[in-house]
């Protein structure tokens, strides 16, 4: 009985941890993806360029409201 409870707790913990992982680090990360004519792509997630472009992105989003 105790062993079953431990397994159940471990499984629940794993599910919660994976949900937290994907919510924090995955798709919700703010970024700017730039696609160039030569087929290359740059993803800016942090740094001065990213901050500047994200600020302009937010301004554009506000302008669409």
């Amino acid at each position: 009985m105790r062993r079953k409870l431990l397994v159940l707790l471990a499984a629940a913990g794993a599910v919660l941890a994976s949900v937290a992982f994907f919510r924090r680090g995955g798709a919700r990360r703010e970024r700017v993806d730039l696609y160039f004519a030569d087929g290359s792509m740059v993803s800016l997630g942090e740094g001065p360029d990213a901050e500047r472009l994200l600020a302009l992105g937010r301004t554009t989003l506000d302008a669409a409201r």
Binding site: E30, V32, F36, L54, T60, L61, A63
Partner: protein, 132 residues
Amino acid sequence: MEAAQALADLTEISTQIKAAALFRADGSIDASTLADGTRFVEAARALLSAADGVRTEPLVQLEAATADGSVFVVRDGERLVAAVTGPEPTVGLVFYDLKSCLRSSAESEEPEKPKRAAPKRKPKEEGENGEA
């Protein structure tokens, strides 16, 4: 297809797109889903202009993903389309729909190709098929 119709089709096909505008590199607006798209287009142009400076290679499209939503800009020569979506859109699908919209609106301005003249038929020779 006219720009307004291309944009109407875009918003009908893509439920993720909340607002969009078709415009030119000089800022003139061809069509917009917003009553006054000027501020939106100016902001999108400023974003594109700033993004252009990141590399010397020409930029063809971008996505700025924020917690409140995403901004997309796609460029095809002098023509551009900008759109906004909610957070976490299906990026590939949105880009595909925006490119289709740009293509559709461009088709309306292309000069109509001259129709090929029908090949001249050889006049039937008398006495054909053994008739005289």
